[in-house]
C-alpha cells in the first residue's frame, strides 16, 4: 500500500459491543490506528449480558475473551469506557470528534483489589442485571469486566461513606471530585456501532409487563439464566422466587406490529427456542410453549429449530397472544390466544411468561451527533446508502441481526472505513 497517502488514517469506532469490538479489531489488525469509545464502564455491550448464544449454546465470554486478548496485544487500539461522542464535524479523511468522558470516580491507579467494595455499605440497583439485583456502591461492573476496574455509583457522592471508601483505597485510586471531561480526536473515518435496545415492553399494555411480575422480557431471561445473574443462573419466578414448571414465550411482542415495530426483529424466534432449552436443562420436568406467527430460523439455524422442536417438552402454537392476566394470589399468569390450528381461543396458565421483545436501533433513541446528519430510515436504522461518506453504521443500528451477522457487517464496515481514510 502506498505510504504517500494524505489524510488522517485513524478510525473511530463508537460502541464497544460485539459489532464495535469486531470493527475496531479488524481495522487495527489490518494496521490502522483505532479509537474505541464505549458508554458503559466495560466493553462487551449487550452480548456481555447474555447467557449463551444460539445455536451452539456457548457462552459469549469465550469469544469476548479472545477479543479482549486481541485488544491487549494490539497497541493500535485505544479504548475509552464511560465515554460518549458529543460531536462529529468534518468529512471523510478529516473528521473532528469531541468525546465526553463521564466520571468513573476511580482512576487508572485502581488495581481491582476490592478494598473499596469491602468499605462500602450502601447498595444500589445493579445496572448489569437490569436492576434485578443490587451491588455495593463501589463495585466491579461485573465479574468478567474488561477493563477490570472498579466504578463508584454517583448516588453516594458527598456522603461520609464516600470518604470512607476513598480512605480505604491503598493506591489513591478513588477520586470523588472527578468531573466529566471533553477531548478531541482527529480521525479519518467513523464506524457507528451503538447497537440496539430492547423494545419497551410496557408499551404493549395488554401484556402487562411492569405490572405482572411473572411477565418478563427475553433480555431479562438472559440474566436470570446467567451464572453471574441475580439468581446465580436459576430460573425462578420474580413473583415469589419459586421454580418454573410451565413457561410461555410470546413471539413478536411488539415486532411485526404496525402499532409498535413494523419490522421483524430477526433474532427473537431463535432466542426463544434457545431460552426454552435454558429452563428444560435446569428443570427436566418443565414444559415450554412458544406462541408464534412464523418461526424464522434462516439458513443452518433450521437445524437448531428442528432440534428444539423435536423435544416433546416444547410445544409450538401458531397464534398471536391477545392478553395476559396475573392472579394476584398465586402469581399464575394466564395467556389468551387464538390457536390458528384449531381456531379456538385458548386460555392457559403459566408460571412465567417471556415476552420476545424486539430490537430498537440505538440510533432511534440517540441520534448520531454529526453535522450534517447521518440519514436514518423511519424506524431509526442507519441507511447504508446515501449517508455521509466516511461514517458507516455497523451491526444492529443498520438492521436487526444476530451476532455472527453483526461481526460480518462490522468487518465490512472496517474495510469501508479504511477506504474512506484514503480519501483525505
Amino acid at each position: 500500500m502506498s505510504s504517500s497517502l494524505e489524510g488522517n488514517r485513524s478510525i473511530l469506532v463508537v460502541g464497544g459491543g460485539m459489532s464495535g469490538l469486531s470493527a475496531a479489531l479488524e481495522a487495527a489488525e489490518a494496521g490502522f490506528q483505532v479509537y474505541l469509545v464505549e458508554r458503559e464502564p466495560y466493553l462487551g455491550g449487550r452480548v456481555a449480558r447474555m447467557n449463551r448464544y444460539f445455536p451452539k449454546l456457548c457462552p459469549p465470554s469465550c469469544g469476548l475473551e479472545i477479543n479482549f486478548r486481541r485488544i491487549r496485544n494490539n497497541p493500535l487500539i485505544r479504548t475509552f469506557t464511560l465515554a460518549q461522542v458529543e460531536k462529529i464535524i468534518g468529512e471523510a479523511g478529516n473528521f473532528d470528534v469531541t468525546i465526553r468522558m463521564m466520571p468513573r470516580y476511580v482512576n487508572e491507579r485502581c488495581t481491582g483489589c476490592g478494598a473499596c467494595e469491602a468499605a462500602a455499605v450502601t447498595k444500589v440497583p445493579d445496572p448489569f442485571n437490569y436492576g434485578l439485583s443490587s451491588v455495593m456502591a463501589a463495585h466491579l461492573p461485573h465479574e468478567f469486566a474488561f477493563p477490570m476496574r472498579y466504578v463508584l455509583a454517583p448516588e453516594i457522592l458527598g456522603t461520609e461513606e464516600a470518604e470512607k471508601i476513598k480512605a480505604s483505597c491503598p493506591y489513591g485510586a478513588i477520586e470523588l471530585d472527578m468531573q466529566p471531561r471533553l477531548f478531541d480526536l482527529k480521525v479519518g473515518a467513523v464506524i457507528w456501532a451503538t447497537g440496539w435496545q430492547p423494545y419497551a415492553a410496557e408499551k404493549i399494555n395488554y401484556y402487562g409487563f411492569g405490572k405482572h411480575r411473572n411477565v418478563i422480557t427475553n433480555v431479562l431471561m438472559e440474566r436470570l439464566a446467567s451464572p453471574g445473574g441475580p439468581t446465580g443462573g436459576r430460573i425462578l419466578r420474580p413473583f415469589d422466587g419459586k421454580g418454573v414448571h410451565h413457561i410461555a414465550f410470546v413471539q413478536c411482542a411488539g415486532s411485526r406490529d404496525e402499532n409498535h415495530l413494523p419490522y421483524c426483529s430477526g433474532i427473537c424466534c431463535l432466542a426463544s427456542l434457545k431460552q426454552a432449552t435454558y429452563l428444560l436443562e435446569q428443570e427436566p420436568e418443565a414444559r415450554a410453549t412458544i406462541f408464534y406467527i412464523d418461526i424464522r430460523a434462516l439458513g443452518k439455524y433450521e437445524d437448531f429449530y428442528v432440534k428444539v422442536q423435536s423435544d416433546e417438552r416444547v410445544r409450538l402454537v401458531k397464534g398471536k397472544v391477545g392478553e395476559i392476566t396475573e392472579d394476584p394470589e398465586s402469581g399464575v399468569v394466564t395467556l389468551q390466544v387464538e390457536d390458528q390450528g384449531s381456531g379456538r381461543i385458548l386460555k392457559e396458565p403459566f408460571d412465567l411468561v417471556v415476552l420476545a421483545t424486539g430490537m430498537v436501533p440505538s440510533t432511534a433513541v440517540d441520534a448520531i451527533p454529526s453535522d450534517p446528519r447521518v440519514a436514518l430510515d423511519a424506524m431509526g436504522f442507519v441507511l447504508s446508502e446515501g449517508g455521509i461518506p466516511g461514517i458507516y453504521g455497523a451491526g444492529c443500528v443498520t438492521a436487526p441481526m444476530d451476532v455472527a451477522s453483526c461481526v460480518q457487517e462490522a468487518t465490512a464496515a472496517a474495510l469501508r472505513a479504511i477506504q474512506a481514510t484514503r480519501r483525505g
Partner: protein, 739 residues
C-alpha cells in the same frame, strides 16, 4: 545475549498480607541464575513501573518475572517492549484470592508457581518473526459473481491489487439472470433496479484488478503471502503469486429433477425460480407448454429446502426471492391471481414491510405442505397442500404456472468426498478426526490434508464460530457469499466486503511475521529439528489448519505462514522435535520438574493442572475474583491450547511423584468451542493412549482426567477440582514420590 533476569514480587492487593514474601524471594533467588529478586508495594503503579525500569537499566535485565496479578490484567502497564521476555506469575487471582492467608500450603503453592514462572522466563527466547522477501500482498478472488466482483472491487478500493478468476466467459454469475432486486432501502416496498453491466464495466476499468475469464484454478500451493496459483486460461497456464484468497464461487439451485413430486419434469409449466427470473430478464414471460401469457401463478416455497430428504437447511433467500417474483406479476397486472405456498414466511428484518405490501397487493398466502401438483385436464395446473396447522387439504384454482423456490447448494458441495491417504501396512491409523473435504475442483490446494476447504455441514465451508464468522479451516482463505452459507444478495455483498478485509488483514499480519486469528500478531512459529524426525506423520495429520505438507518420504514440510501457532504439532510429536522459541516441550517439562513434591508422609498431594489459556485459565481467574476457594494442592500451567499437550509431560509429572493431572480444555464434539478446532479433542484422544504409560508405571488411569470447561463454568470449578482431589485421595499417594 546473556540472560539477566529480574524477579519482581508485588506486595500489593493483599499479597504481602497473605504470603511470606521474604521466604518467597529467598526461594526464587535460588533459581534465578544470577538474576535479581525484588519486592515493591505496588508494581502496577507509576512508581512500581519506574522502579522496574530503573532496575532494568542498572542491572541490565532482559528478562522479567512479575509475580503479582493475572496476566489478563494490567497488560498495558507491564509492557516493556518486544525485546524483553516477560513472564507474569499469577499470585493474586489464582493464589491468594482462592486460598487461606498465611498458610503453609498457600505459601508452597506461591513458591511453586513463582519457580515455574522463573523457569519459563529463563527458557524463553524472544521470537524472531518468519519472513521471506518474496511475500505478496495481492488478493486472489475466485468466482466472478456478485460476491466475487464485490470482493475484488472493495480490495482495489482499499489500495490492494486483486486477481479475479471466473470460470465462465462473463462476469456477473447468478446476477446475469436477475431481473430486479428485492427492496433494500426505504420504503422497503419497491423493487430495485440493478445495472450489472455498469458494475462489470467499472470493474474491468479498475486498474488494480486483473481479470481472468474462462479460467479455472489448476492448483494452489504455498501459504499466505506465498500462495502460488496456477490458472488454466485460453492459451495455456498462467502463474500468479498472491497473499490471500477470497472464495466466492457461490451456490447453484438445488437440482429440480429431484423434485418430481412437485411436478418438475412432469409438467412443462412447473419451472424453477431461476427459469422464471430468466423469463423476466428476456421479457418473454410465457407458459412453456404453449407459449401463452401467464394469467395465474403459484409459488411453492421450500421446494427441497427444510426437507431431510433433500436440503435439511433453510436456503434463506427463497422467501424473499419468491415475494419479489410475485411482485413482478402484481406489477404487470394487479389482478393476476398469485398463490404462495409456504411453511414459515421468513421475511426477516425490513423484509417484513415488503411482505406486508405483498399481502396488501392481494397475494394469496397458503401455509401448507404441498402434496401434489396435478393437471386440471384442460392444460392448467392444480396445487394441493395440507394445511400445516389443521391438516385439512387446500387446493388452488387452476393456475398457468407453478414456480419452485428450489433453494441453493454451495458449489463446494459438488464432487466426491476426498479420501485422506490410507495408512500403509504396519502404520498406525491416524488419531486425528479427518476433515470433511469434497473434491469440488475449485481451489485444488496442494495440501496434504486435501484439495479444498473443509466443510462443516452440508458442504458449506463456513466458520464454526459465531463470534468469528470468517474463520475457515485454511489460513488465508476466506469464503464469502452463498458458498459460505445460504444468504440473500444484500448479505452476500456485505459478506464479500468483510472477507476482503480479512484477506487484506491476513497479508498485512503475515508480512510482519505475525499470526492471524486467534493468536493475532503472535510472532512465534514452530521450528522442526529434522534430524530426529521419525516420519510418523502425526504432525501433518493432526494440524487443524493443514499447515504441514509431507514429502514422499513422509518428512514434514512446514508452511509457517499457514500456521496459527496453537502448538498442536508440538503436542503430537513423540520425538519432541517441534518447538517455538517461547513455548516448547522442554520448557513446560522443566516447569513441571520444578514443582516441589513433598514425600508421602507429609500428606500433601500435588496435582498438575494443564489449562487452556483461552477458557480454563480465565475461568480460574474468575474463581479468584469471586473468591471461590479450593484445595491448594493444584499447580496450574496455562497452555496455548490443550492440543499442544505432549504426553511426555504426563509421564514426567507422574514419574516425579505428582499425584494426578487435570486437563482443562474447551468443549469438543459437534458444538465444539476449541478455537483451534480439534485441540481439545486431540488431547482427549491422546489421553486414551496414556494408558500405556500408566501401565508401565503401574499407576491407575484415574490419575489423569480431562474436563471440558468454558469461562462461564467458573462456579463449577471448586467442585471439579475438589472431586478430582478426592478421587486422588482415594487412590492414595503416587508411589514415585521421592524418586
Amino acid at each position: 545475549m546473556e540472560k539477566k533476569t529480574g524477579v519482581f514480587v508485588c506486595a500489593g492487593c493483599g499479597i504481602a498480607q497473605s504470603l511470606d514474601l521474604e521466604s518467597l524471594k529467598r526461594d526464587a533467588s535460588e533459581h534465578v541464575q544470577g538474576g535479581i529478586c525484588r519486592e515493591h508495594p505496588c508494581l502496577c503503579s507509576p512508581e512500581g513501573i519506574a522502579y522496574i525500569r530503573q532496575c532494568m537499566e542498572v542491572e541490565g535485565l532482559n528478562r522479567l518475572v512479575i509475580a503479582a496479578c493475572s496476566p489478563r490484567v494490567m497488560h498495558d502497564v507491564f509492557d516493556f517492549g518486544p525485546g524483553t521476555v516477560l513472564e507474569r506469575v499469577n499470585l493474586r487471582e489464582q493464589v491468594i484470592w482462592c486460598h487461606a492467608a498465611n498458610d503453609e500450603d498457600t505459601q508452597m503453592l506461591a513458591q511453586d508457581q513463582l519457580r515455574m514462572g522463573i523457569i519459563k522466563a529463563l527458557e524463553c527466547e524472544p521470537p524472531a518473526p518468519f519472513s521471506q522477501d518474496d511475500f505478496s500482498k495481492r488478493i486472489l478472488v475466485v468466482g466472478g459473481g456478485l460476491a466475487g466482483m464485490t470482493a475484488a472491487m472493495e480490495t482495489a478500493k482499499a489500495g490492494y491489487e486483486a486477481v479475479l478468476v471466473e470460470k465462465s466467459d462473463q462476469l456477473g454469475g447468478y446476477m446475469k439472470s436477475v431481473h430486479k432486486l428485492p427492496p433494500s432501502g426505504p420504503p422497503y416496498e419497491e423493487l430495485r433496479d440493478f445495472d450489472l453491466q455498469a458494475q462489470v464495466e467499472q470493474l474491468l476499468a479498475t486498474e488494480n484488478i486483473k481479470v481472468y475469464q474462462k479460467a479455472r484454478i489448476a492448483r494452489i500451493s504455498g501459504g499466505p503471502c506465498l500462495f502460488d496459483v496456477e490458472i488454466d486460461v485460453n492459451g495455456g497456464p498462467v502463474a500468479e503469486r498472491v497473499g490471500a484468497v477470497v472464495l466466492c464461487t457461490g451456490a447453484v439451485p438445488y437440482d429440480p429433477h429431484k423434485l418430481g413430486h412437485l411436478g418438475y419434469g412432469v409438467f412443462p409449466d412447473v419451472i424453477t425460480a431461476l427459469q422464471l427470473e430468466s423469463m423476466f430478464t428476456s421479457t418473454s414471460v410465457v407458459r412453456p407448454s404453449n407459449g401463452e401469457p401467464v394469467s395465474s401463478v403459484a409459488f411453492i416455497l421450500c421446494a427441497g429446502s427444510r426437507d431431510p430428504d433433500h436440503l435439511p437447511y433453510c436456503s434463506s433467500a427463497c422467501c424473499i426471492e419468491s415475494l419479489k417474483q410475485a411482485k413482478y406479476f402484481k406489477m404487470s397486472n394487479p389482478q393476476t391471481p398469485v398463490y404462495i405456498f409456504y411453511r414459515d414466511l421468513r421475511a426477516h428484518g425490513h423484509y417484513e414491510l415488503f411482505y406486508k405490501q405483498l399481502q396488501k397487493d392481494g397475494t394469496i398466502f397458503v401455509r401448507g405442505t404441498v402434496t401434489g401438483v396435478e393437471d386440471d385436464g384442460s392444460g392448467g395446473l392444480i396445487v394441493t397442500a395440507d394445511d400445516i396447522l389443521t391438516g385439512a387439504p387446500v387446493t388452488t384454482e387452476s393456475v398457468d404456472l407453478v414456480v419452485l423456490a428450489n433453494g441453493m447448494v454451495p458449489t463446494t458441495a459438488m464432487g466426491e468426498p476426498f479420501k485422506a491417504q490410507t495408512p500403509a501396512e504396519g502404520e498406525e491409523t491416524p488419531a486425528a478426526p479427518a476433515d470433511s473435504i469434497i473434491a469440488s475442483d475449485i481451489l485444488n490446494l496442494q495440501y496434504r490434508q486435501g484439495p479444498e476447504l473443509p466443510a462443516l455441514k452440508y458442504g458449506f465451508p463456513d466458520s464454526h464460530f459465531i463470534c468469528f464468522p470468517y474463520e475457515s479451516r485454511r489460513t488465508g482463505i476466506y469464503p464469502a457469499g452463498t458458498v459460505r452459507a445460504p444468504m440473500d444478495w444484500a448479505r452476500a455483498v456485505e459478506d464479500a466486503a468483510g472477507a476482503a478485509l480479512k484477506a487484506i488483514q491476513c497479508v498485512e499480519m503475515t508480512s510482519r511475521g505475525g499470526a492471524v486469528h486467534p493468536r493475532s500478531g503472535d510472532l512465534s512459529y514452530p521450528e522442526f529439528f529434522m534430524q530426529r524426525c521419525t516420519q510418523c506423520k502425526r504432525c501433518t495429520e493432526e494440524c487443524p489448519f493443514g499447515a504441514i505438507n509431507e514429502d514422499e518420504k513422509a518428512n514434514p514440510l512446514p508452511n509457517p505462514t499457514r500456521c496459527r501457532r496453537c502448538g498442536v504439532c508440538m503436542g503430537a510429536c513423540p520425538e519432541r522435535i517441534i518447538s517455538f522459541r517461547n513455548y516448547s516441550v522442554g520448557m513446560i517439562g522443566n516447569m513441571i520438574k520444578s514443582i516441589q513434591v513433598p514425600d508421602e508422609y507429609e500428606e500433601k498431594p500435588r496435582i498438575l493442572v494443564l489449562a487452556c489459556e483461552n477458557d480454563a485459565y480465565p475461568a480460574l481467574d474468575l474463581a479468584g475474583i469471586k473468591r471461590l476457594s479450593y484445595s491448594p494442592w493444584f499447580r496450574i500451567i496455562p497452555l496455548r491450547c490443550l492440543g499442544s499437550m505432549n504426553l511426555v509431560w504426563i509421564a514426567d509429572a507422574l514419574s516425579k511423584g505428582i499425584d494426578g493431572i487435570l486437563l482443562l480444555g474447551c468443549r469438543h464434539g459437534e458444538d465444539y468451542q476449541c478455537h483451534f478446532i480439534k485441540g481439545s479433542e486431540l488431547a482427549q484422544i491422546r489421553m486414551s493412549k496414556i494408558q500405556e504409560t500408566l501401565n508401565r508405571l503401574v499407576l491407575e488411569s484415574d490419575r489423569v482426567r480431562l474436563e471440558q470447561l468454558s469461562i462461564a463454568d467458573y462456579p463449577r470449578l471448586p467442585e471439579i477440582l475438589e472431586s478430582f482431589a478426592a478421587r486422588l485421595e482415594e487412590l492414595g499417594p503416587n508411589p514415585y514420590k521421592g524418586y
